[in-house]
Symmetry: C7
Subunit: 91 residues, 7 copies
């Protein structure tokens, strides 16, 4: 699903996947124990910087730092807008 | 609506949209709870930097950081003047 | 009016416009309330940096940060000398 | 063994070799005494940056700083994702 | 008057003009009140940096920051050696 | 003697020469008095950075800062791995 | 006199001239009063950086900052090794 937003330059908009808040045995992990990278889906990408097109595409599932980006509310849903350099890898 | 100001280099002038200060039920949100990006309309743009033309155009609705830019009074109205890199995305 | 000074590289000399220290009703605004950009007239410009000519010209009315530049006394008058990047926009 | 992850730009995914936690005489070394570089195996590499392809390849055994990279859980195993510049040498 | 010193790269040697320490009425201004740029005469210049020749020439009268440069005693006289970027303008 | 390690980019591996811990009269110098550059032998070099091949070669005796580099144990011996810019000179 | 050391890149080795510790009347100046640039003779130079050959040559008498460089003992004599950018001028 693509989003009707055009990020500037090397920015991308990501829809975060819900954190898996239960362990195998069903125990709820408190928030401070979840410092690993977050997973999300790219919903909008910029045009990149001069001579540096972006690597990620709309629809990619990506890993990014837990504290990456800025929250963005758009048409009732929540997204993150971040620079591509905040993304570690495409799954 | 265009503004008769010529920003230097990669600067743009933005007219902020009024913050939506009420929730659905009509409760007023105190100022400290509104840290999400601000929406605004571009009213003047610079010529960009050497070999890097600007992406935003006059008339674009943009999202930018809550603390981006410098306030500017011009002919009785209030604007913000900021660098394009302070703008996250075009809506 | 041009000034017989040749600023180096990307520097410009600006003659500040007097601050409008009264509101419509004639109330004097104390100095700490005037943090908005200052207006001034460019009276001398440098040759720019390598491959980056300046945008402002002698005679332009410009907006610049309240604390931009260094004061300069020259032949009995007061000026500011600043880098072009301290200038926000040409009016 | 290669991993089905595509790191962005100059990032690589490394599977850490288990630290040798016993000395010749079988004494357990406490964690704070193991500040030397860590050894690991590269399991995924990015495409490098513009005009700078990566030097390390999948399958290389590498030395990297003890605190390099970010932990990454993937399909039940633990990895580190880091920039190539965090890697000191290929063994 | 030229000085027999060859500054390296973008450095210049300046002979400071004596500060005008009296006001019109002959009152001596204490040192802390003289924060405006200093005037001086260029007596030696370097060859500039790669592809960036210097703008100032020997004999130019220049304005520079009050705290610019390093003092230099040479054959009984006092000079300042500074980078061209510490010079604001040529008079 | 060359070492079977391939440093990344501009890194080199150095085997430190033993510090001369006695003065002419045989007095032992305490460790804090030995802040001068260290001498060592280069045992492995990287390929340099883009368009910047390395100057030092395997077998060179080099001087480097006392605190340069990271310790590296390899096959029972101790080495230092550092960037070429941490090396002052070749003897 | 040249020294058999090859500094790396933009580094040079300088033999400091003895400080003139007496004034005309023979009064000894305490060390804290000698903050002016030091004089010395260049005894070894590097090959410069990519596309930037060095300006100073072996045999040049140079002025450099009082705290520039790192001390270096070599065959019983004391030298300073510094970057060319720590040198102000050639006398």
């Amino acid at each position: 699903m693509s989003l009707n937003i055009k990020p500037i330059a090397d920015r991308v908009v990501v829809e975060a996947a819900p954190a898996e808040e239960k362990t195998a045995g069903g125990i709820i992990i408190p928030d401070t124990a979840k410092e690993k990278p977050q997973k999300g889906k790219v919903v909008a990408v910029g045009n990149g910087k001069k001579d540096e097109p972006l690597t990620v595409k709309v629809g990619d599932t990506v890993l990014y730092g837990k504290y990456a980006g800025t929250e963005l509310s758009y048409e009732g849903a929540e997204y993150l807008i971040m620079r591509e350099s905040d993304i570690y890898a495409i799954l």
